[in-house]
Symmetry: D2
Subunit: 352 residues, 4 copies
Amino acid sequence: MIKAKVVGACGYGGVGITELLTTHPEVEINALVNLHNVGSSISDVYPHLKGFCDLTIVGHDDPKAQEPVDVVFMATPDGVGMTLAQNELDKGAKVIDYSGDFRFNTTEAYADYAGRIGKPLEHLAPTLLPKAVYGLPELHRDAINSNTELVGNPGCFAVSCLLGLAPTAKAGLVLPDSIICDCKTGVSGAGKTPSPTFHYPARYENMNAYKLAGHQHVCEVERELGILAGEELKVTFTSQVVPLCRGIMSTLYGTLNNKISEDDIIDIYKEFYGDNSFVRIYSSDTTVGTQQVRGTNYCNVVISVDERTSRLRVVSYIDNLMKGQAGSAMQNMNIILGLPEKTGFDRPGMHP
Amino acid sequence: MIKAKVVGACGYGGVGITELLTTHPEVEINALVNLHNVGSSISDVYPHLKGFCDLTIVGHDDPKAQEPVDVVFMATPDGVGMTLAQNELDKGAKVIDYSGDFRFNTTEAYADYAGRIGKPLEHLAPTLLPKAVYGLPELHRDAINSNTELVGNPGCFAVSCLLGLAPTAKAGLVLPDSIICDCKTGVSGAGKTPSPTFHYPARYENMNAYKLAGHQHVCEVERELGILAGEELKVTFTSQVVPLCRGIMSTLYGTLNNKISEDDIIDIYKEFYGDNSFVRIYSSDTTVGTQQVRGTNYCNVVISVDERTSRLRVVSYIDNLMKGQAGSAMQNMNIILGLPEKTGFDRPGMHP
Amino acid sequence: MIKAKVVGACGYGGVGITELLTTHPEVEINALVNLHNVGSSISDVYPHLKGFCDLTIVGHDDPKAQEPVDVVFMATPDGVGMTLAQNELDKGAKVIDYSGDFRFNTTEAYADYAGRIGKPLEHLAPTLLPKAVYGLPELHRDAINSNTELVGNPGCFAVSCLLGLAPTAKAGLVLPDSIICDCKTGVSGAGKTPSPTFHYPARYENMNAYKLAGHQHVCEVERELGILAGEELKVTFTSQVVPLCRGIMSTLYGTLNNKISEDDIIDIYKEFYGDNSFVRIYSSDTTVGTQQVRGTNYCNVVISVDERTSRLRVVSYIDNLMKGQAGSAMQNMNIILGLPEKTGFDRPGMHP
Amino acid sequence: MIKAKVVGACGYGGVGITELLTTHPEVEINALVNLHNVGSSISDVYPHLKGFCDLTIVGHDDPKAQEPVDVVFMATPDGVGMTLAQNELDKGAKVIDYSGDFRFNTTEAYADYAGRIGKPLEHLAPTLLPKAVYGLPELHRDAINSNTELVGNPGCFAVSCLLGLAPTAKAGLVLPDSIICDCKTGVSGAGKTPSPTFHYPARYENMNAYKLAGHQHVCEVERELGILAGEELKVTFTSQVVPLCRGIMSTLYGTLNNKISEDDIIDIYKEFYGDNSFVRIYSSDTTVGTQQVRGTNYCNVVISVDERTSRLRVVSYIDNLMKGQAGSAMQNMNIILGLPEKTGFDRPGMHP
């Protein structure tokens, strides 16, 4: 069995990958590492895991935490992975980091990102940046493979925007500077730590925009779309939070360069993603929502053309904790370990 | 006391105005008319009204329903008001209609609207259209006054978009064809009739776009913004539903014609709406959401400039059943009856 | 105008009474006092109040906070009111305290309560206990009057249980030791402070029992029911939290002493509460829920007899922040200031 | 592969077993039968199944629906299974029926049940009743085995009450007639058909008791507890609905016959259920809720003794659509097909 370690096991990202690995046929969890809850069973912290995963949580200095493993998930906040990755790589592990630490290949790009979240602009492991790959396999199948050692798992909003717009950018369907990403997320995107904003009474029956000055995920969106488009571009990006737990709905707008039908665009998207991918393409008369991707690694993409205004409108739906986080992480793991990409993703989710 | 009648009293729009009139100091309800529940007390249908309003619901043919009153609220679906309004006007009542029947002044404009909702294109009371005024007082203070006999109460999405964009359109801040309205509504916007889409298990933990082919409220938005801008314009309009009950958040985009600061735009908005209005203007670093307007007739408007992309972004928040429906209706009533505009709106809502 | 002061203005209890007083015809708020947010406007903390109440929050030592007023609401945690009340009384104010500080007339009874919530057992103002009255007017109309200086506002669960069981206890309908109170509360009952338990993602789609070792409100329930029954009694009390914001549903059980019909019990209840009270009595075939009391000071009580098991079952519904807290406080204020009991309660709530 | 057929595939019970069978290692679905949606793919009706199960839904008369299979799930309303079961049994299938049709072994017991739900009192397949077994394996391990042909899957409330009280009844811990079951369910328990009661705006922020005259699941509870206790008994049973989708919390009360500690009762429960069961036992200081069983076949049981009143209080948590319905059905299938009981239940659910 492949051995895995989860660092930051008690956050939503950590418990997410723990749930998934528990039923993965080729992987076993060797250690769950966390700052808090050390000495407790993970199933005391998350009782739904009882009988499925009852490992004891260990601290970073615990010998168990130091055992070599095949793959390490850094389900940690920005700034942590960059201090730990080299050591794991030296021990022969592959590293998948959830934060922005390894999403950028230059210190300048990282600094732009770090500035948006109030972190120090200096990257602490600049020599690792060239070997890090951006972990969105649908866009980087060439770069993510069994030689990959270090993956920067993408941001949740970025996943939804990029999967919704990548074929458009590649095909040059819209004016590069006409793109608007109107993104709505469920509350789990903010993580496990309680705050006044996400206190149940303040959040039920409430929705609002936030970080209007600029959400950090826009950096990834612009970089990746620019690569696909072959030119730099800027997008307007709005982050909003609505009263549900899991789910991102991103409504993406661009002004069409030329008259093109919805059906033709659907063909472009289907060709881009191919069969058997985690992206499902729908026409504008289909009703799907975030509930139809909840608990799964799928991204549902609805294509619509507003002929009156010559605009393309794409609505992209993901589960922010799955394709937006732990699901993408396990998908990346499968690929870099040489396993079939969908291994362990045999669940359709549940309804209602 | 001014006498009022509510037709369609048992829908959400009907009970909404009934709640409001119950505490209005100058008005009393003379009759509650409805197709169903005839003979029941309104407080049997809506038990929260017990002790506040216990009137018996009467059918359209009931003598009580035929008594002359000062003001009639047609809280009825599209197509009903146009068959009843003339008779009420003949009896001397002022009529406020919730539907699209009297939001348009020409049969052509009505036909465009009617086509979008699958209704017959022919208007059944075309002679009334010229005397109907569009009931958004913030835009039509000249037209809505004590001489007004017939008001077409605006659509809920239209209210949120228009209050968010009117000063921009009037001042010509953005390119006319660059406007995008990304609108999210709570579930009560769909009314009281159960359906698979709004069944609790299908709606909790779900959000989705709908009517991508074109929501009917776009007609009002384009007409009104065009009047303000002094030229025809088209907008891209997206309707989306999220899992809360009351609230609309419309995120409104436009490409700025010229460089202008957020503060200057705020000044333009404040001047446009003036003091003591139902519109509150906020800067982009303020966090307000739909919870802060719930149960009230206020519209909260947040102004933001995305300098990177030269776009204006306005976020507009209303309670769809208040400023988006019954609240606007009562505001219109106050004005056309010569009462102070805010009479009966002395509630701040409640939190949480 | 009567002058009021709210201490602890920024908690849910404080903002609740502030909302209510804002529209009270006879009272004006003289000062809003709070530990935090000093110097901010209350409408910055609670933006829905903007234009309704924009008073600046002052600290305890602020001269404004020290001005004499007619009535002081201590919307403060256990242990605070007992340190402040004497000073307010000395200045001539009447004091209504939200906590358990003045719900008990003896230091022994207080100690029993305090022990259940981990507070020091010693009461810091024991000389005030004899003059404190228990602020449930439906049970203590004789004691609460214009001579009352100090009111201990009841606990939210206690209100729901007592209004549901008082006529039963008084009439001796059930075996004294057969009473079980199965109580479910919305999340706002836990107050405004964020915690892991009430973080949106941990609370949506979740319900659980808590404090199985014994919730502190049982003390009030047993004391009051004992007074009514004329003998000491013990009840089994279960507190549970469900995913909504406002509302308590208490399902109350007791073994009937004698065969009696639902109708006869309804008569007993109606006679006990009389006309024009805040208690509405319903038969078992009526469907009402917490939504029908939300935002109001009403308690809906449904009577049911399970003839198969000779048990009485009463279901009692309140809004925990209104009749369970701020609403009862204002009701008490009205009475002790000599105003009609329902003054300022002219709102039916809103639906949906 | 074992072949399965699901009748009533498009209800919540049908899609529930379809989700589960999709990932079952030993079973494949041969046919999905339904009255409506015939000719559509199940993944058009439930888009989350796309790529996991895309079978076409067939009508009852379709040849595909008539093919012999190994096991048939009757996910159908009361009264349907009794008309179809004999034919399936004749073709050699084992039948698991979700409704009350086969939960009772006598026509008299069925008539009592049928009367409570307004169905005809006569059973249409009385000769099958003696061979039907009550599908709660934790109570009937002897009767449910590879010889079993016909299973009456238990009611959701009954599962929660019985798993919570069975060891108590068997051990004679409480007075037989002192038992009260206070049950709260999420909205999905009412099924997929929209109704005013479960319309999102009427259900969010609402909770209420219903069927106070007597819920039909009480029949199963009394029968099974009586068997365990060795004497007839009656319970008071209250059904309540709260605003969440999946989950039942049943709070169960009984007066203790003798003084006994919580720890001793826990031992009794652990011995009753044994290791490796779907029931997890917790002490009263543990916080678990319905979220910890969501999406799983587990029942979490919290034991508490109220020494002040000599009462046992057990809180039982299940997912009403899993252990309360489709999960129990698949568990029964595993057993009667000779598979390990937990086959296909390798998911811990997900959090949050």
